[in-house]
């Protein structure tokens, strides 16, 4: 079923990237981190409700991988999606407004934290039913292949997904049909409160892909340059029409699984150990030491990111609640007239 694609052979490595480009990454990663700080704060203040999941610590994965993508490529991810959404270029304003459930949010307040999405940016969104989106990714990639597009579909998921039937069905099909998918497992060592090794036959998750003869590798997901360099080959492989590739990015979430997690399953030392490898600090050091970027410039950029998030919070705060009747919008393509016979003038 695979159609041969052009033989692109370019080893894009971070060393070849301009300092300006890397500084842009830095700004973006600051934006991601600061978005989460504010999201947590307003959750505690009760402005944000329900369930939300903080991406802090994992920034290098989304940033380093998405940096390889063009506007036509596709991304789909799980519910830990604030960081990936910003990495793809979703404006923090509608993203924050969605967390606040406002009409100006990415889905007018209907979806909330776990379902940030942008059709325009080919960011299919966060998905809250764990692992279900792997099947969707397979279909997205099959459609791309069918249409003869030279695109990559990036499908991100947590280690917890990989013990699920959806995962195995998706990997099998991707290989059988040589689909242009990059599977990215963000292995942050825990699925909720459960260590990977307690519920997975192999703790090195990439080995699962080997069973399907999908080329796979395990990489350090805490360093964005490293992520970028390691993934280059995978992207080339897929764009050249050679079928799927599997990346296991070893990473860490600084915060609990979700709000209210007392984190009894891990030690403070472990958290501290990963904070030593902080992706933002690592990139800042590289820029300062290897690229002669002034530390003060980085601080200015961080302040700008903070300002941008503050503006997003103000935007969310001042935005209107969606009108109640929009609850009836977008059930079907045509306006939904039959609203049932329910009482209280539910129309």
């Amino acid at each position: 079923m695979a159609t041969p694609k052009s033989d692109v052979e370019h080893e894009t490595l971070s060393a070849d990237l301009s300092t300006d480009k890397l500084v842009e990454w830095y700004s973006r990663m600051e934006l991601m981190r600061r978005f989460e700080n504010h999201a947590e704060r307003y959750y505690q203040e009760g402005k944000i409700a329900g369930y939300h999941h903080i991406y802090s610590g994992q920034e290098a994965v989304a940033m380093g991988i998405f940096a390889h993508l063009g506007p036509d490529d596709h991304i789909i991810t799980a519910y830990r999606d604030h960081g990936p959404a910003l990495a793809r270029g979703i404006d923090p304003k509608p993203a924050m407004a969605e967390l606040w459930g406002k009409a100006t949010g990415t889905s007018q307040g209907k979806g909330g934290s776990m379902h940030l999405a942008s059709r325009k940016l080919h960011f299919w969104g966060g998905y809250a039913i764990v692992a279900a989106h792997l099947s969707l990714a397979t279909g997205i990639a099959l459609a791309e292949q069918y249409k003869g597009h030279d695109t990559v579909t990036v499908c991100m998921f947590g280690d917890g997904s990989t013990n699920n039937g959806y995962f195995h069905e998706a990997l099998n099909l991707a290989k059988v049909w040589d689909l242009p998918i990059l599977f990215v497992c963000e292995n942050n060592l825990y699925g909720m409160w459960t260590p990977v090794g307690d519920v997975s036959a192999v703790s090195d998750v990439y080995k699962k892909a080997c069973g399907y003869e999908i080329p796979a590798k395990q990489i350090d997901g805490m360093n964005v340059l490293h992520v970028y360099d390691e993934v280059a080959e995978a992207i080339d492989h897929i764009r050249a029409g050679n079928g799927p590739y599997f990346i296991e990015a070893l990473t860490y979430r600084y915060r609990g699984h979700g709000a209210g997690d007392i984190e009894a399953y891990r030690t403070k030392d472990e958290v501290a150990e990963y904070k030593e490898k902080d992706p933002l600090v690592q990139l800042a050091s590289y820029l300062a030491d290897e690229r002669d970027v002034d530390r003060s410039k980085l601080e200015t950029l961080a302040k700008e990111a903070e300002g941008e998030i503050n503006a997003a919070v103000e935007f969310a705060r001042e935005s209107e609640e969606p009108a109640l009747e929009t609850i009836w919008d977008n059930i079907f393509a045509a306006p939904f007239e039959d609203r049932g016979s329910v009482s209280k003038g539910r129309s």
Partner: protein, 327 residues
């Protein structure tokens, strides 16, 4: 007797049932070390060990499928689906295997398992943490679907469910976990499956409600009592098998029926209740059977006001009572 929440009632019943019978074991996502997301199984791991408190991978299909195999092979598994919304991958196992194994094998095998599923909205869970699932499973012969709403009923029915010879879907309303309190006997006890209870006596109309809606119905009944409207509130406790006699007797007495459920109205569990009463008590009715239920919207929106609007409220129920009483 001790005063307990629904959550404590479940915890204590499971605990005592495991103490009493080694065939009882629990499995689910994070039920062990964590004690469950709602802490229903807190401290079970320390007491009963890994063999009987099984932390599973994130794989609902496997949790239920494995449970069926264990049950058919002599154990009494209590499987937890973390949120009812996640039960769908296991739908096939429940409908095709659990519900049919006795019938298909001509009674050679059976499936004495319990599937516990926290359900229901009103907790800002948005699209995938708010769902009601009873209609899907009440439709399936071979399954029993229980939806107790008070600590006493929860304790008695859970113990009955664990020792019931057939598969039971045990629905626990999330918002009620800590909201209501009530007296629960200290010792294990069984309540008959298939028996409802009149939670409030009245002569003017009957409300049929379970879960969070039962408590809201009781509140609405209290409000209208001030104006002399006497509402009878019927709690089915067991959705299948249904206590039809209790339902028909109550409707015969009051001549009016109001059905409340938070699931989407069309094809919901309450539709079947209306059909039964229309069929078997038509001549006793003085008014059309009315329902207050969730709207036909694909899922509960995240936005707060929209969520609140999705859920039938005490005000909605009160309005419906007054309208029906005036009929």
């Amino acid at each position: 007797m001790a005063e307990k929440t629904n959550l404590q009632a479940i915890h204590d019943t499971l605990w005592a049932a495991m103490k009493e019978d080694e065939r009882v074991l629990i499995m689910g996502e994070d039920v062990g070390a964590k004690g469950g997301v709602f802490r229903v199984t807190a401290d079970f791991l320390e007491e009963f060990g890994e063999e009987r408190v099984v932390d599973t991978p994130l794989a609902e299909l496997a949790i239920v499928g494995v449970g069926i195999g264990m049950a058919a092979n002599g154990l009494l598994p209590v499987c937890e689906i973390q949120f009812a919304d996640f039960i769908h991958p296991a739908f096939d196992q429940i409908v095709s295997e659990a519900a049919r194994i006795r019938y298909r094998s001509n009674n050679h095998w059976s499936c004495p398992m319990v599937i516990r599923a926290p359900y229901g909205g009103g907790i800002h869970g948005a699209l995938y943490h708010s769902q009601s699932i009873e209609a899907f499973f009440a439709h399936v012969p071979g399954l029993k679907v229980l939806a107790p709403s008070t600590p006493y009923d929860t304790a008695g029915l859970l113990y009955s469910a664990i020792h019931d010879p057939d598969p039971v879907i045990f629905l626990e309303h999330k918002k009620l976990y800590r909201l209501v309190k009530g007296e629960v006997p200290d010792k294990l006890f069984k309540l008959p499956i298939g028996k409802g209870e009149i939670k409030r006596e009245g002569r003017d109309l009957t409300i049929f409600a379970y879960g969070l809606m039962l408590h809201q119905a009781l509140e609405a009944a209290e409000r209208v009592a001030a104006d002399g409207i006497e509402v009878e509130v019927l709690d089915p406790r067991s959705l299948t098998p249904l206590d039809e006699e209790l339902l028909l007797d109550s409707v015969k007495k009051t001549s009016k029926l109001l059905i409340i459920y938070e699931d989407n109205e069309f094809g919901g569990y309450g539709a079947e209740i209306a059909a039964i009463v229309a069929d078997k008590a038509f001549m006793d009715l003085d008014a059309p059977i009315k329902r207050v239920a969730g709207p036909m919207v694909p899922a509960m929106p995240y936005n707060g006001p929209q969520q609140d609007w999705f859920m039938p409220s005490v005000d909605d129920i009160e309005d419906a009572i007054r309208e029906l009483a005036d009929f």
